[in-house]
């Protein structure tokens, strides 16, 4: 490989690297700015519930439980559409955080609310950044990954594969 080819390769690598960095900055900025993450899917509730659980698991999380909020409300005489809360987490990560950050256990396992609205289904969760603590790099790394996974899950739920 001659010098010109090497320079071209370097320029190409630099340009690509800058492209990726700029793209990531823009994407992360948009994601960070939202306190709440929300998505609407045109899937019916059962379809959306099934896909949500599959996407959670595909990211390496375990769905630990599904709370059927609508059942409790209906049994108590209140009218409601389908409304569930999906609890999920990575077992070892939750065990680790319960030791290092026990105050976070009030928010663990993490959860996503999913409810029907006419023929559509809506998903809501809090941006995990609200759990971040200043100066805690280890926690920030975990939370950034949770956020990235959620952004991806919600993007896919919207139908933007």
């Amino acid at each position: 490989m001659n010098l010109i080819q090497k320079r071209r390769g370097y320029s190409l690598a630099m340009a690509l690297s800058s492209l990726i960095t700029a793209g990531l900055l823009l994407i992360s900025h948009a994601a960070q700015a939202d306190n709440m993450m929300m998505a609407r899917t045109t899937q019916t509730f059962p379809e959306a519930m099934s896909e949500l659980q599959a996407l959670i698991q595909a990211k390496g999380y375990v769905v630990s439980r599904v709370q059927r909020v609508d059942i409790g409300l209906t049994q108590s005489g209140y009218k409601t559409d389908k409304y569930r809360v999906v609890f999920y987490g990575k077992p070892d990560e939750i065990r680790h955080l319960s030791q290092t950050h026990p105050e976070l256990t009030a928010y663990l396992p993490m959860k996503i609310s999913i409810f029907a609205e006419d023929q559509d289904t809506i998903l809501v969760t809090a941006n995990p950044q609200h759990l971040n603590m200043a100066g805690d790099a280890e926690l920030a790394k975990i939370i950034n990954r949770w956020e990235k996974d959620l952004v991806d899950i919600f993007r896919q739920m919207r139908g933007n594969k």
Binding site: A15, G72, P91, R95, S113, I122, A126, H130
Partner: protein, 346 residues
């Protein structure tokens, strides 16, 4: 410089534009559709595809609404979006219905605010509230019973007042909004000068800005209490205290239940879940997103012989929702949680 390198540099320079120039549809899907519906029919948010709405709001109102949001009224501020992204969203929203967008001048409407206040009390306060706070609840979500087909907006909201010109408010009063309870006040017998007076009064809300009840950002993330009792007694105390506050204990489990095999989960980390369905129904009416609070719970952890209780801080969590009504409910929930934690650790 070779052609390939020049092409790469050009691509690099134009990338941000390409990213910002995401289609309006994609941006709408990402930021708006969850609340306003894929086709603008509304839900948690107001129906944007309503022809009468589109006929009476100019692009400037939509742009500023997206930028400023509605503090305390669910609609967040999207101030981090670039102007061309917001414009793309507005263009997409305009495509919902074939209605020509109005253009209003920025000329203030001159009117008699005290007379407007009297008229406001007679004609507007029933839906918009005496202080212009708007109706209760959110948008048009029908998962629970509603008094009106759409929640009346808060017209004293600083986001609304910053977005709506005097001329826009006047047009809404003169023409009404077909398909909503908002009627034309000219048809109801008010004169144009009366309408001007109401506009002057609505504008005067700018001088009456209210402070939030508490600073959500200064609230601790978690409520933490030390228990003088052992784990089993503390768990029993939490259950008893919750029942004493009219909650039903719905589940007691380990923190790791469902994450590890039965028996491998840490038995010294216990969650007590409890619920008051009347309160829950009330909260869901105020904001259908409150599933993030559900069910109510206290986590009890024994570590090296010491037992601690952990609960979410409802005030802190409420800060994520941008909903003043929910803040009030969460203030009450904070008191309830505190009482349960105190009683459990007596």
């Amino acid at each position: 410089m070779s052609l390939r390198v020049r092409v790469i540099i050009l691509l690099w320079l134009t990338l941000p534009l390409a990213v910002f120039a995401q289609g309006g549809e994609q941006l709408y899907s990402q930021y708006c559709a969850a609340c306003h519906g894929s086709e603008g029919n509304g839900g948690v948010g107001v129906p944007l595809a309503l022809p009468a709405f589109q006929k009476t709001v100019d692009d400037e109102f939509l742009i500023k609404t997206i930028r400023y949001g509605r503090p305390g009224r669910v609609m967040p501020s999207f101030s981090y979006l670039k102007p061309d992204q917001i414009k793309a969203i507005v263009t997409f929203i305009r495509g919902f219905v074939p209605v020509k967008a109005p253009v209003y001048d920025s000329k203030p409407v001159m009117g008699n605010a005290p007379h407007g206040k009297k008229l406001y009390g007679e004609h507007c306060a029933a839906c918009h509230g005496h202080q212009g706070d708007g109706g209760h609840g959110t948008g048009v979500t029908f998962s629970r019973p509603r008094d009106l087909p759409i929640i009346a907006p808060s017209i004293s909201n600083p986001g609304f007042l910053a977005s709506a010109s005097d001329q826009l408010i006047k047009a809404a009063l003169m023409e009404g909004r077909e398909g909503t309870p908002m009627m034309s006040y000219l048809k109801q017998g008010l004169s144009e000068q009366d309408v001007n007076d109401v506009v002057a009064y609505v504008r005067s809300f700018e001088k009456q800005a209210k402070k939030p009840e508490y600073d959500l950002h200064k609230e601790p993330l978690t409520l933490v209490y030390d228990s003088p009792h052992d784990l089993a007694k503390t768990v029993a105390n939490v259950q008893r205290a919750a029942v004493g506050k009219n909650f039903r204990v719905i589940r007691v489990q380990t923190l790791e239940d469902g994450l590890f095999k039965k028996g491998d989960d840490n038995q010294k980390q216990v969650i007590v879940y409890f619920c008051n369905f009347q309160l829950l129904n009330q909260a869901l009416t105020v904001d259908p997103r409150v599933g993030l609070f559900l069910p109510c719970r206290v986590t009890i952890i024994e570590n090296q012989g010491k037992v601690k209780l952990y609960a979410i801080n409802p005030k802190r969590l409420s800060g994520l929702f941008n909903n003043n009504e929910l803040d009030k409910l969460c203030g009450g929930m904070f008191d309830t949680y505190t009482e349960i934690l105190e009683e459990s650790t007596l």
